[in-house]
Symmetry: C2
Subunit: 333 residues, 2 copies
């Protein structure tokens, strides 16, 4: 039960265990034929490497841990899935933890995961306990989504630029009156910057600032959204396009539009932040902006590979945002 080791394989293949090790790790200096034989036997015997032993000799084991932030799940669900899929292709294991950052790191350390990826939010900074835990962690730590700490690779997401691009795109489609609905963050700043630089019509109510969040209750959230949207819609400067700051806002607004018989894109064009499939399979597939999950996953695993091959890498990588054009934003005249 359990323990098939390289020695067992070596015995079965009639070679020595170092040869098996080399064969299994694609190391040079093994006859191709022998190698194939060993590989075959290993598979037959359903060999599973002992990560502890690997770690003991300071070898990485091609596994990546992702720490799922305490936040609404749908985006991270898709991110995890995509990560998982691409990782499979690249032969790396992905394990997910939903613990808080310190516990997660400890758990990953105990299980020999050699690369841990955190999703944090802008302005996050590490607690001293976290720093201490990170010092004990032998592998690499990467941070995506926001925040910064020493001894961690950073994958930056430029949300401001994302929204800025959305404004630009809509302007290119012929819109002059564009409103933004969402919280006050980098994203809304991108909207303001875009409106200003592209010399769009601007009225203070074009920034529809939402303050209640989903988890304060759908009810509260919806009420606020509905009321503020109505104000905007009834104003004398009704916009022709809307930029929404997240899928959450998009879901809320779509219901509201439906009730009011406002049709997309006939009555209004829409771009939403967040690259998730739910936005593309709606009645009117929505144009989205923001980093593509697919691309994020590539960058993450490229980073992992760099680490794994002991290559150097830029400590900060930027992930560019992308507009995925769908039916909700045709050109207007």
């Amino acid at each position: 039960m359990g323990g098939v080791t390289i020695k067992d394989i070596a015995y079965a293949a009639g070679v020595s265990h170092p040869t098996v090790s080399k064969a299994l790790n694609n190391a040079p200096g093994v006859n191709e034929e022998t190698k194939q034989r060993i590989l075959k036997i290993a598979k037959q015997m359903n060999y599973v490497p002992n990560m502890a032993a690997k770690r003991l000799v300071n070898k990485s084991n091609r596994s990546l841990g992702f720490v799922w932030p305490k936040a609404e799940g749908i985006f991270f669900y898709h991110l995890c899935n995509a990560l998982q899929e691409e990782a499979l292709r690249r032969q790396v294991n992905v394990l997910v933890s939903m613990s808080e950052p310190i516990t997660a790191l400890k758990t990953f350390r105990e299980h020999f995961i050699d690369f841990v990826l955190y999703w944090f939010f802008p302005n996050w900074t590490p607690s001293s306990d976290f720093i201490r835990e990170r010092e004990q962690y032998p592998g690499e730590v990467a941070i995506i989504g926001g925040g910064y700490m020493d001894h961690a690779a950073i994958i930056e997401i430029d949300r401001m630029q994302s929204i800025y691009n959305a404004v630009k795109y809509l302007a290119g489609q012929g819109h002059k009156r564009i409103a933004f609905i969402g919280e006050e963050t980098d994203k809304s700043n991108g909207f303001l910057k875009g409106s200003l630089e592209l010399k769009l019509e601007y009225h203070p109510d074009y920034f529809v600032k939402i303050s209640s969040t989903y988890y304060q209750g759908i009810q509260e959230n919806r009420r606020e959204l509905e009321q503020k949207f109505n104000n905007l819609w009834q104003s004398s400067n009704r916009p022709t396009a809307l930029i929404l700051d997240s899928q959450d806002t998009a879901f809320g607004l779509i219901n509201i539009l439906r009730e009011h018989n406002i049709s997309v894109p006939k009555d209004v064009s829409i771009i939403s932040y967040d690259d998730i499939p739910e936005l593309s399979i709606y009645e009117v597939p929505l144009t989205t902006c923001g980093p593509s999950i697919k691309e994020m996953v590539q960058i993450i695993l490229d980073l992992y590979d760099c680490y794994n091959n002991n290559e150097t890498w830029d400590n900060v990588r930027k992930i560019v945002s992308k507009i995925v054009v769908r039916d909700s934003t045709p050109a207007i005249h």
Copy 2:
């Protein structure tokens, strides 16, 4: 990274490294005074045990792997979160994998997770590859949600009973005309059984059978739901209560009701399957049936504890369903 080992401590304390090991692990056979001295030095030197080395010798550890099924995420998100939280309380690590079952088991084996929990669906049966992989796996495998295999603990969910109870509860609230909306599964059978046994009014259109699923597209799903619901609502035997087979159906229907200005519970009472917070924070908090996530998590970890303490356990555990009464189902006259 790394550095201080028990040998260093041994040298500093003027003892041998096995003695340090014993002292650090509270093992018997070490002079109390020596032990304290060693502990103190270890602390001074900021010793951190090398998990790899430990693991290489001692195989077991308190950790549980959960395999997240390829299915829509929101329920599993809550389940994972709850599992994680209770596990923290019980000092067990939880790691989640989104790989397919065999890969997941292999990954967990590699990383010394000694207990793996699968969510499967009714009528699932293991492939021969899976059986083989399980045989190699030294830990325990548990299955929840449906399906069966040898050498696995089973946590059974009686969905039929859940819905049956819902029917019974609604009947108790005074309803005679109850309809069910959802796919044809154990759940719909529970509805039919309840209607029959409790001698409710029954019309064929009270079983609103939905066949398209969420991932065929929201659009398709919504259209079918809307059309079938309209039929039901316009029929001469309009029901006074609805049982919905999942949160998915609930979300869809709620939007439809809103558009039609049908008010809950004034115009119709509703019970939905699935114990997730989203159903409780809606405009009208919905009464739900089905197993409570909290309870599921308890049963899972109780099972884990049994396994971990080498206790015996019933190979099949049933998880009872519960009705959480909220505002959507008042008594009627």
